[in-house]
Subunit: 211 residues, 2 copies
């Protein structure tokens, strides 16, 4: 696996997947600061040059892990905002639940936030990681935000409703449960949450009753 | 400062505050795994025995830091749910914003989540820390949950509204902005959020319009 062997060809899906999987595992085992990129190459069974060519630093690698996780969440505009948000949030909940469970010998019922917490910590500790992770979220969150904007534009939401606040309520509730309280998600959590949030977004603004 | 010198008397507020402040600073500088309890004692200028007697491990210490932060947030039931939630969330937002800014030479405009991210990571990595931190949040969150329960009981909220989901929307939105997107809080963020959320909690359940 020399440099010339693969030059000009896309690297195999299998190699990339193995590298991201190994990075993911090492993050869980030792935290962002506790492993090296060389160890990722070793665990993935790829040449270091392969890894460095694609992701020159751990910062690039963690951002790739985040982007991969995000890209697995589908966002479709069917014109039914409730349906589309429930589908989107159910995928987020399932993905976060999976991440909570993976890793070294977690007990069943372990409520650790796992990988997501490591990413949050790395983003807080390393400004470059923080900036890149926030950029990945901004790019991906633009999709559900566009769903909310469309719904508002066609009159399904109150004209005063602010999509950014509504989105914070939805995504925030899910991440809060994962990262802070560790409460498990019931099977209908996503649909209950969407119903509750949309009820607020569909009514006239309560500004008039300010205390 | 021997064991007998203080036995039977509450330790001075000043000593405890200095210890928690030092733990807080070291967390920010090196992360949970990067410092020792002896260093906390040294930085706080207290005898190790003083510190170990009160908080025998780093786990106990981080939980005390979290509890102290939480205890600074007032929760009052005036009977006006909007007012009480806005007051509560404004205090949370102000507290989180402060935590984002403290620490070693942060640039203005730095969007790192700082200490909160370190706590989240420690809670995910160390099962005992996780359990204790979640217990602190559960105990404190019972207060705003009780506000929502009272409001529902006196008919200010829809009888179908679920206080736990409503609370997730409120606290979640704020933590999501801090930990994930890094978006700054505008001056009226807390009141906009409460208005949006309460509008949903005050209307009839949208279950009938399930798609």
């Amino acid at each position: 696996m020399t440099t010339t062997a693969r030059r000009g060809r896309p690297r195999g899906e299998g190699t990339d997947a193995r590298i991201l999987e190994a990075a993911h595992e090492l993050l869980l085992e030792r935290g962002y600061d506790g492993y090296s990129i060389d160890e990722v190459a070793q665990r993935a069974g790829v040449a270091k040059t392969t890894l460095y060519r694609r992701w020159p630093t751990k910062d690039h690698l963690i951002v790739a892990v985040v982007a991969k996780i995000q890209d697995d969440v589908p966002v479709t505009d069917t014109g039914n905002i409730r349906h589309d948000l429930v589908t989107y949030l159910e995928a987020i909940v399932a993905g976060l639940d999976r991440m909570r469970r993976v890793g070294r010998g977690r007990e069943p019922g372990d409520r650790s936030a796992g990988l997501v917490a490591e990413i949050v910590a790395a983003a807080a500790r390393h400004p470059d990681v923080g900036q890149a992770v926030r950029a990945v979220f901004a790019r991906r969150n633009a999709l559900p935000l566009a769903l909310l904007e469309s719904a508002r534009a066609r009159g399904d939401l109150n004209p005063d409703a602010r999509p950014d606040v509504i989105f914070d309520e939805l995504a925030g509730a899910v991440y809060y449960r994962l990262l802070i309280t560790g409460e498990p998600f019931g099977g209908d959590y996503a649909s209950r949450l969407v119903d509750q949030v949309l009820a607020g977004a569909r009514t006239p603004s309560p500004r008039a009753e300010r205390s």
